[in-house]
Subunit: 337 residues, 2 copies
């Protein structure tokens, strides 16, 4: 695969899986202390990674979960955030200003804080009660983060009596990175073809629902806009029919992220519409990837990581065919604002 | 003002204000029965109108609030939605399929349901426990809905001990429609100028935060996309700096909806950025409108309705200058899908 190091990918994802013992100890401790709700806090791609977990907690567990934008949370005076909250924050570099400020804010309120990050000795790890650190380069950070979250969140739900099959789930996560590489390999020709076909496309509509909505939101914002400077609209499949559909013409590029959770019918409806009204339809469907050894009933939870792992391949090919390096920024950490 | 009937506007908003006694009776009844959280459910513009109220409840009250997309909610199996939930749904026509389905779903779960709608003898009013009906044409529906919600939600918060000044607030709502007309009048030249300047603009970025985020989301989707077939990106002010900023060039149209809640600094940051990097910046700032007789401390709650009332004027002028009727649809209720 183009610009892909199997070794590096397995090292990063293996690092995340390798945290299991530490993660479960943290889960035991925070559960013993007790909490009445979970806040998932980040900025940009980090908060977007939390959206599927907010969805999964709310549909699996009786513990209320709230994914919140760091910079807004510190201003809102959210009354649900108290010393009885469990707060999980995420920043790869550990230096994202707003997220570090949110961590300090939550600590001041007396909440219990866990920080997911790639770096020790940086502000996030130094601020939170429980840092969970796994080094990850930018391109694999999302998969790494998700693997940590699958262990942490599902262990917490297990302890709460909401997810009895945690042991089996966690054991299957160990083989998941190899299966995700197989999925990437299967997707590779499609990724290349997308990049060749759409390299000059000025606008993409990216659609998701349920556990893929956060992935649609972040792929549009953090990759197409931020890393490729292409205009996008990310839109939830259910909301698509209440406005955004009207701008679809036969040359409108639509990228559909179809997962396997209970909201799949919402994506199927958009797909049927798109098949009729645009010639530029791309569907990424997690159901097309085998993931041998993963139980059928866990696939709905894994839709976001399967989606994000495939989308990484799209990014690599867009970078290549568009001759636009994924690391270039006009403004972010380049100019002051 | 172009295509504006003062009489009609006062009739519709007066109808909403006139529901006060009925609304408060409903609030008394549901409060007496008791509930542990509030779900605010709609589709498209209706759910977007709820977003500011979700934000305001969570920053003012200890009652947890969740704004949810109707079509997703009925599939998600959200564990927070129980017979102890108070559910508020909204559909102007009373026929929005997904919203009616959600009302039935919530009733089956045993939740208490309130329906905001413009029509009696339609499915929404016929399904919910408490219909609150105020006839409103499409262009004034959002203001009507918000006036009903200010009375209902703030009365509920008052009864919960979170908002002691409800009587004063409700009394001021009575003079608000006149003040909103004055605001529209002041905004009129700016609205016309926007439409003249940007009538051929193919793309707008619409930015909001806190209580204006829902307005940014819906103006982009329900007016610019649905009613004018113009591409948009709606983006939260805090999230703007984590991706979307990279596509800003000197000819990128940015429409900023600046309110007066605690997240105003987030909008100011985007404004400072936009002033530097684009020549096409429009700021709608609720602070520029006097609203004589409205207490300073209530203005943060009223930012969404001030914003939406001004944006209606933008729509009327876009329709006129672009020669594109706001009622035309390519697909919605035109073709089957």
């Amino acid at each position: 695969m183009l610009n892909f190091s199997r070794e590096k990918y397995l090292k990063v994802t293996g690092g995340a899986i390798g945290l299991r013992e530490e993660i479960e100890k943290v889960a035991d401790k925070v559960f013993e202390k007790g909490f009445k709700n979970i806040f998932l806090i980040g900025s940009g791609g980090a908060v977007a990674t939390f959206y599927p977990f907010e969805y999964m907690i709310n549909s699996t567990s009786t513990i209320p979960a709230y994914a919140e934008i760091a910079a807004e949370l510190v201003l809102q005076n959210n009354k649900q955030l108290t010393e009885e909250s469990l707060v999980i924050l995420s920043s790869l570099s550990g230096t994202t200003e707003e997220t570090v400020a949110a961590a300090k804010y939550c600590k001041q309120l007396g909440a219990t804080t866990i920080g997911l990050t790639g770096e020790y000795n940086q502000p996030l790890a130094d601020t939170v009660d429980y840092p969970l650190v796994n080094f990850a380069e930018n391109d694999f950070a999302s998969d790494s983060n998700q693997l940590v979250l699958y262990q942490l969140i599902f262990k917490l739900m297990n302890k709460n009596g909401d997810f009895p099959r945690y042991e089996e789930f966690a054991a299957q996560l160990e083989i998941l990175p190899e299966k995700l590489i197989e999925a990437k390999e299967k997707f590779e020709p499609k990724a290349e073809n997308f990049a060749v076909t759409y390299k000059d496309e000025p606008y993409h509509m990216v659609v998701g629902s349920g556990t893929t909505w956060g992935r649609a939101y972040s792929y549009a914002m953090c990759v197409l806009e931020e890393m490729q400077w292409i205009k996008t609209k990310s839109i939830h499949a259910a909301e698509f029919f209440h406005g955004t559909l009207e701008i679809v013409e036969e040359d409108t590029s639509m990228l559909l992220l179809k997962g396997q959770d209970d909201t799949r019918p919402l994506m199927e409806r958009v797909e049927r519409f798109a098949e009729k009204y645009t010639k530029k339809l791309t569907v990424i469907d997690t159901a097309e990837y085998e993931l041998a050894g993963i139980s059928e009933e866990f696939r709905k939870y894994l839709s976001p990581i399967v989606t994000s792992t495939l989308l990484q391949r799209l990014s690599v090919h867009l970078e290549d065919k568009r001759n636009h390096n994924l690391e270039i920024r006009r403004y972010y950490r380049t100019v002051a604002y």
